[in-house]
Symmetry: C2
Subunit: 365 residues, 2 copies
């Protein structure tokens, strides 16, 4: 847990987008920089499915964040000028209320009694933090991956709340290919006997299922071209090999195992299931009846859309659709199509390509 984490507890009940309520939810967030007197220099960042609110390091918590090279002093989102907020998604397990949290009214862990989660709820929870700081209008709303869909859900629900929009490796809706991948990830978790229909004890969940879900995640987040460069057909060192004919043999298998191992200790399985399904369910067209209507309602002045050619999860066409949509309603749109080979995850690793694009956008504003 980051020492820099702040918690905001909402009073009363929080009504969920698709029905049901949760009582007095907590929203975890971190901030960097100073909110100015006019309260007009705030940047709100929504995350992908699994990160916490710890986007970058600070004096309070020097541990590197998930977007360390993008957020901070003298970095593209420059915390000397901007007041940056990153929220942990509602439904997640890094301080915000989710299926792994205790329901304050019953004292029981929500587990599968948590109501259906939508990205609209994640957005509304972020809005509560914005309101808490008495920010009427954000300078910029930023979201990569699932965070990009959350940013769209935010903008559709609060259309005048941000002057600029940065949408990265995301789309106006989930397409069947990504739904299929997530559906299979959920099945891996749900078929693990240790899932116990969601009733596992905290910290003891379906480790085997989570490990496999993370591996499939890695496969869909990266690209074949990158792995060919990194691993080729390298074999793992002899001493790590066992007699089992189906044990790990190739370096790429060890790489997946390493990432899976890191993940399982961190993320709660039920939270994963809820956020995964929330991603499937998102369709911007539900706001106003069509994507065009939804985009037309969003009052952002400038929009930056970044997509990556090797992204198999949110393919470049989805970014082009977003850019064209905002252009057609007269917004100033910049579209960057990056030749990164790291696939969907490029925004986390191909900093040499992402840094200048984000830097340029914030430099003008």
């Amino acid at each position: 847990m980051s020492k820099a984490r702040q918690l905001l507890q909402l009073p009363g009940v929080f009504e969920m987008h698709r029905g049901g309520v949760i009582t007095r939810p907590t929203i975890a967030y971190e901030t960097w920089g100073e909110l100015n007197n006019k309260h007009d220099n705030a940047v709100l960042i929504f995350t992908g499915l699994s990160p916490s609110a710890h986007a970058t390091s600070s004096a309070v918590d020097p541990a590197p964040g998930w977007w360390e090279e993008i957020v901070g002093p003298y970095r593209p989102i420059d915390t000397r000028h901007y007041f940056v907020i990153c929220v942990n998604s509602l439904g997640s397990c890094f301080g915000s209320t989710g299926p792994a949290s205790e329901a304050p009214d019953t004292g029981e862990i929500y587990r599968l009694n948590f109501p259906v989660l939508s990205l609209e709820d994640v957005a509304a929870a972020g809005k509560a933090v914005v309101d808490f700081f008495a920010i009427k209008s954000l300078h910029t709303l930023v979201g990569p991956s699932m965070g990009g869909m959350t940013a769209l859900a935010f903008a559709a629900q609060f259309p005048r709340c941000s002057r600029n929009l940065v949408l990265i490796s995301t789309g106006v809706r989930s397409l069947p290919y990504s739904i299929a991948l997530r559906s299979l990830q959920r099945e891996m978790i749900r078929r693990d006997p240790d899932w116990q229909a969601g009733m596992y004890e905290p910290g003891q969940g379906p480790i085997g299922g989570m490990r496999m879900a993370r591996k499939l995640g890695m496969i869909s987040y990266r690209s074949g071209a990158e792995w060919q460069q990194r691993f080729g057909r390298e074999r793992i060192a002899g001493e790590r090999r066992s007699g089992d004919p189906f044990a790990m043999d190739f370096e790429v298998e060890a790489y997946l195992e390493h990432h899976a191992q890191k993940f399982i200790g961190e993320f709660d399985a039920n939270c994963y299931l809820y956020l995964s399904r929330a991603s499937d369910l998102f369709d911007l067209a539900e706001h106003g009846g069509s994507v065009e209507a939804a985009i037309g309602s969003i009052q952002a002045e400038r929009v930056l859309v970044i997509g990556v050619e090797s992204d198999g999860l949110f393919q470049i066409d989805q970014q082009r659709e977003l850019a064209a949509g905002f252009e057609s309603v007269g917004r100033v749109v910049e579209m960057a199509e990056l030749p990164s080979i790291q696939g969907h995850d490029s925004f986390l690793v191909d900093m040499d390509r992402f840094r200048p694009v984000i830097d340029d956008f914030f430099a003008v504003g």
Copy 2:
């Protein structure tokens, strides 16, 4: 089981490429058309990982085969002119000896006592059928997907045994992306408690694991563009939906479930594991020290390479590498890059694009 299936039992022991032996293995195959007096009109087809030898229908077995529109009278591989042989891969479970077969010397089912399987073994088993028919030189050797790697393993081991080569959606080796996918599929099966470390009773294997492995197979065999056209965000009919928040909701999920259901009754889990690992292990460079050396040794006159732009499993670059390799050693090469949207599986479904390319190649010969 196809009524047209023939069985060839090899005498003595069959030495495996990576060590170990199997005793008196059986090779299942089917044939269509007539072998001519000169024995020079034979076409040998190796299959992908999961099909049987039943490539097409016949009077004896009118059930449609897995390549029904390609093989038969008046079809691209015209059985009025060619004597077509399709073999069930050694290690598979449709008549050929594999991990699900009884070892003749012990009376026990092989299970994990089956030696490490290589595509070189699958190729050598096919060669035994060729020898059985006293065929010195095949007119054409054909292989899609894993069958294409098997065809390369055949040509590298028996370099003068085929005058023409048709390689479809395949490559000179398995790359880390496909190894990662197959490794995860194997993990799904091996983590299923019903796998019982390979000791499950015949017909009772790890159904949950196999179902998921097949779903991941479908995800890697098709393409996002195709599913977007076919399913978009269609929901399944109300009556098929349950109250479970993570049950199937989208049509694409029902489609995967349907295919998985069909598969689990058919394919043996241990056989799947062995064939999957055999695919990982294949590297044409092992024949002669480099891909160039291996290709240079293969004495085929004409080579047809077909690749599909949307193929994520054997990407189009791998077909280009193959075509360039054969060209560099002076073979007559035709390379067809097809704009099919059905991904790796296009050779099974996009018949309007595949038919004319294969037809042209066989028409000249």
